[in-house]
């Protein structure tokens, strides 16, 4: 499957964690490859290993089996072409919005006025004009998530990994910001991987969707989304769109219910132990 022109190749990744209850397989033999400029969504039930997979690709975890390569070069540690937006709250509370966004530029050694100009552009892009001098503690959760998004976008990575960046947003902002991300992605020909729980978002934005199984996290299916580009949030109303959503929802429901059952059993077991 790995074609010569893939920019990112993920081969047979297995990641296990030692936990107090024994070894937990978070990612189980996941393989896929991504063409330059492609938009791939990763979707799967909570706890199935999506974030773990991203941390492996981003070079932030070691002790895994398999191989990740970027443009043919095996990744060991964070790769300069990869930019990550994390699931957790990740703004620097001691920096203002503009200084947060300018952070990667500062690290790259860019001069002050140049990096502020550039950072201001990205602050505007995520709709935070006028908040440049504010500290993260003065913003809402969704606004903070947009700051970390702008910060990673400002570093203009060739490959962008986004872990539920829109989770804290309302539906309208989510759609509008999705449009903007798509626009940037198309303009910069950025290769993008997006973790999401939102089917609409996944289908709206992606070329392909990787559906993962509940623990251990395996590839359940990779779905090609053959909807015409350029897309905007308006496509959400179309029949073809609804068809894709229904198909993936079917896959997901199966996995999600496994997850729920598993949780219930665990709760029951814990209850029994406590008695």
């Amino acid at each position: 499957m790995a074609s010569a022109d893939s920019i990112l190749v993920v081969e047979d990744i297995v990641k296990r964690f030692e936990t107090p209850d024994g070894v937990l397989t978070a990612v189980d033999h996941v393989s896929f490859d991504v063409a330059p400029g492609e938009f791939l969504a990763v979707i799967g039930p909570s706890g199935c290993g999506k974030s773990t997979l991203f941390n492996v690709i981003g070079g932030l975890l070691d002790g895994y089996d398999g191989r990740v390569s970027v443009a043919g070069e095996t990744v060991s540690g964070p790769h300069p072409s990869i930019g990550m937006i994390f699931q957790e709250e990740s703004t620097f509370p001691w920096r203002t919005v503009i200084d947060n966004v300018a952070f990667p530029l500062e690290i790259a050694g860019m001069g002050k006025s140049e990096r502020y100009d550039k950072a201001r552009h990205f602050v505007g892009l995520v709709g935070l004009d006028g908040f440049e001098r504010r500290y993260p503690s003065e913003l809402s959760g969704g606004m903070r998530q947009r700051v970390s998004m702008a910060r990673t976008l400002a570093s203009e990575p060739k490959i962008l990994l986004m872990d539920e960046p829109f989770a804290a947003l309302d539906e309208q902002t989510r759609l509008l910001l999705g449009d903007k991300v798509l626009q940037i992605q198309q303009d910069l020909k950025q290769t993008t991987l997006l973790i999401t729980h939102n089917l609409t978002e996944a289908v709206q934005l992606s070329d392909r969707i990787l559906v993962m199984t509940y623990r251990p996290g395996k590839t359940k299916r990779i779905v090609d989304i053959k909807l015409p580009r350029p897309r905007t949030s308006e496509i959400v109303g179309s029949d073809a769109f609804g068809h894709y959503v229904a198909q993936i929802w079917n896959d997901l429901r199966e996995e999600a219910s496994k997850g729920l059952k598993d949780d219930e059993q665990r709760v029951a077991r814990a209850g029994a132990v406590r008695k």
Binding site: G58, L60, M84, E89, F92, S155
Partner: protein
């Protein structure tokens, strides 16, 4: 007081509420101070206690004036000679010793704390001992310090150093472990080098615990230095205090304590401001 408390609770506009509250606090403090001074003066006048142990406020005031404003020492500063109260020379010596101790103990404490925070192996091996040594009165090391560094300023600085080292090392190590792991992942994914990780992520993220450590460290460094100055010494504020005590010059001793108190409050306020600034 009950009536005043009721007034603020009854939902006056926030702004004026804040103003009156602040004024009330100020008034309460003044009242407390006046009360204490009154009791002191009454005790002094009653003659129930030794008059020399509880001297009247006037005597203390006069002694304070002598201490701070009556020149009795020729201080050669560079090429000029100043005619100043001797107290300032001693104060300067003590401050320089505390400053040197804080600098050495602070930076080494920070460095060791960062190493312990970053390395679970080191922390497992050594941190427990630091916890045991931390609360031990450091004066027990003084004989050793005298042997190593002599009776001069060296042993005083050493006392200040080991005193402030412990609180700073422990709060730096704990502070480092409290950093949100995602912030470290952000730094790594932007490929920061070690120096950039320390200066751009660890230190700013640990600012509050470090400031707290420095505050505690400053307190014990002052204590350690003053204690050291009271033994085998002829310089510094600690020496002045013990000297006043030995010559039974109680008013002078109280004046020294008052000045020390004011200096300590000032230093603490300075650290507090630095933490916010």
């Amino acid at each position: 007081m009950a009536a005043a408390g009721h007034m603020t609770a009854s939902g006056a506009p926030a702004r004026t509420g804040g103003m009156t509250l602040r004024r009330q606090v100020l008034l309460l403090r003044i009242a407390l101070l006046a009360g204490l001074l009154g009791i002191w003066e009454a005790a002094a006048a009653s003659g129930l206690l030794f008059r020399d142990v509880v001297p009247s406020l006037l005597t203390i005031g006069r002694s304070l004036f002598e201490l701070l404003a009556v020149p009795d020492f020729q201080w050669e500063v560079g090429i000029t000679t100043l005619w100043v109260p001797d107290f300032y020379r001693h104060l300067w010596i003590t401050m320089a010793e505390v400053g040197a101790g804080m600098t050495i103990g602070g930076f080494s404490g920070l460095a060791v704390g960062l190493a312990l925070g970053a390395n679970p192996f080191l922390s497992k091996a050594f941190e427990r001992f630091l916890y045991y040594l931390g609360p031990t009165p450091k004066i027990i090391f003084f004989p050793l310090m005298i042997m190593w560094f002599g009776v001069g300023p060296g042993s005083k600085v050493a006392m200040g150093t080991i005193s402030c080292f412990f609180p700073i090392v422990l709060s730096a190590a704990a502070g480092m472990r409290q950093i949100e792991s995602v912030l470290i992942r952000v730094g790594r994914s932007f490929r920061l080098n070690t120096w950039q990780m320390v200066t751009k992520i660890y230190l700013p993220a640990m600012r509050q615990p470090i400031v707290n450590g420095v505050r505690l460290g400053l307190g014990v460094a002052v204590i350690g230095t003053l204690l050291a100055e009271t033994k085998l010494s002829n310089r510094g504020v600690g020496f002045l205090i013990i000297d006043a005590y030995n010559t039974f010059d109680m008013p002078r001793m109280y004046s020294l304590l008052i000045v020390l108190f004011v200096v300590a409050i000032g230093a603490n306020a300075l650290v507090g401001r630095a933490s916010r600034g």
